[in-house]
Symmetry: C2
């Protein structure tokens, strides 16, 4: 089967955006938004998905999306920790409802109630609720709750350790994912996202984070930002800084997704990074929504690029399915509970059954 | 001939670093450093170059380096505008002395006396002095004088326009180059440099800067940060944002260097970006100083990667020489004045004469 590990509920009904605006404007108490979001009718959610992500899944022949709230709308820099808490709860509950409606096609990942200057411990209750009560598989973790000003400690600081302890205990990964940027230097999807990916990778390189947390897993999205393109630079920096080789130092804990929107980029990614560290993803419907006139396909139809480059069957199997089951063990359990064990390789192995 | 457009005087005698420390510590009046730097003996400069950059030029078979002060040491966020002014003057004067000693092998590019919150107009006098009096070819322009906090306006803001007017008048390009980072999120050579490159490209994409300045030229170093790897994303974002196609919108004004330290990265760069927009560079001696055990060559020996991928002769000629003469027209004039006109293609065209 084909698992897309990176999708956001970007097609959420307009009502949610209106409720958020009211929350930030102070029209209601901060917790009001939880009930407001709950009032969005099931049919509105269903049609948002059926005319959006589910439709594209079918067109592209992908089976399941690991689904989370809109990354750009997490906006942890707006309001305070209380506002962030209830906004987060409202968004995560909507993901849960989608997953219940489409249990074979979507699985949940949560946003966290981060807030600049507030200790990450503050996120643990919501993480536990989402994983233990709602059956989510992991979380999105924003390395810059300040929205482009990077004023909290780096991700390798002990500031984050209490949260990492719980991630390990629950055996769920974190996708490192910034939100929107209020710094005019950083366009959010064209700069801030990629910069966040690049910066956190380098933080990990210079630290012993994964010696302290051997089981912690970070998924670095958007193809790893600038990292695979500059893999020689990182290998050389690790060497100059007397760090272990990257395969040992980082590649038991860091994974890259395939949100790279052209064939040469996907080719580089899969050539440079071991297949065991690459997870299929599209971020559909997300940063780039158009159709590439050169290919006649959506820019974010990353399966197309992977089909184009002709991976070996065992690499395809890892990238499209096996790595996701390994990095998100709760997904594997979920799929097995649905009778979708680890033996349906046909679709992936042939690579020729688009839209099947 | 082979022109390396990106080298910094990283081997500068220790005395300069000591003088800088004294300047920042307030041991002397801020302008003292100009005389102190002038007191560094010629033989110390000569040996720093002969045992460093000139030695590697000969080993690698490159002819001339466009040479500027240490990028990481510009540190515009330290001290104030007055300190920045005299530090800059001292550093630029040292580059001028190196160029006079090795006129066939080095040509100068200046740093600018930027300072956070201070209008870029303040840099014009030093830019004019370096170009008009010292014969420099261009400048390094720091998009983030705040050293990782990005508190000044983006590069497309009219804040920068007075400086751009003079760049156009003098017909010199600016290399967009951040300095060291005091933000613990951003390792300077492993994150801040690449993030700076990526961010400014996207600023240009969303703006009409080059409609206002059709002759302005930016060189984006380090292989363009994350940009070529994500070229599909940028093409798609331009389309979604109703911008012209990138070739028309940006590629008459933006150039990328080849400071990408492995063959797959160089291959992607030269495959995705038109050869007319790629300029040979190594940043030697710079960010990565070791020898890659996989190749037995320095990571920053970028000529090796370019030789490996087998470019067409006309592309090699553009990347190694012609583009540099075009983007830095004062270099072309300088070379012609040295009798090094535009007719010596042998070395580049064969691509087989390393160390010749």
């Amino acid at each position: 089967m084909i698992i897309d590990i990176h999708g956001h509920f970007t097609t959420v009904p307009q009502a949610l955006h209106d409720f958020r605006k009211s929350q930030l404007d102070g029209d209601f108490a901060p917790d009001t938004i939880v009930g407001q979001a709950a009032s969005i009718p099931d049919e509105d959610l269903r049609s948002a998905i059926e005319n959006g992500q589910r439709k594209l899944q079918m067109e592209r022949g992908t089976d399941l999306t690991i689904f989370s709230p809109i990354a750009g709308a997490m906006a942890h820099h707006l309001g305070d920790a209380t506002i962030s808490r209830f906004w987060t709860e409202a968004c995560n509950n909507l993901i849960h409802r989608v997953v219940r409606m489409f249990p074979r096609h979507f699985a949940g990942v949560c946003q966290l109630p981060q807030s600049p200057g507030v200790a990450p411990e503050n996120c643990i209750a919501e993480l536990r609720r989402c994983v233990e009560e709602l059956g989510f598989l992991g979380c999105n973790l924003n390395p810059d709750p300040a929205g482009g000003y990077w004023t909290d400690p780096p991700m390798t600081d002990r500031w984050w350790y209490p949260l990492y302890e719980v991630l390990c205990e629950l055996d769920v990964p974190a996708m490192i994912h910034v939100s929107s940027s209020c710094n005019p230097h950083f366009h959010h999807t064209g700069a801030h996202y990629l910069n966040g990916d690049t910066s956190v990778f380098m933080q990990c390189l210079t630290s012993d984070l994964f010696r302290d947390f051997p089981d912690l897993r970070f998924v670095i999205p958007h193809g790893g930002g600038a990292v695979p393109y500059h893999w020689g630079r990182y290998r050389g920096l690790a060497q100059d800084l007397d760090r272990p080789i990257l395969e040992e130092h980082l590649l038991n804990n860091i994974y890259f997704d395939t949100c790279v929107y052209h064939t040469p980029g996907i080719e580089l990614l899969t050539r440079v990074i071991p297949a065991k560290n690459v997870l299929f993803a599209s971020e559909m419907i997300g940063a780039v929504r158009g159709i590439d006139p050169r290919t006649g396909r959506y820019y974010d139809d990353t399966r197309y690029y992977l089909d184009e480059i002709g991976l070996a069957p065992d690499e395809r199997q890892m990238i499209f399915e096996d790595n996701a089951r390994r990095v998100y063990p709760r997904l594997d359990s979920l799929l097995r509970s649905q009778g979708r064990g680890h033996d349906r390789r046909t679709c992936v192995a042939t690579g020729l059954t688009r839209g099947s």
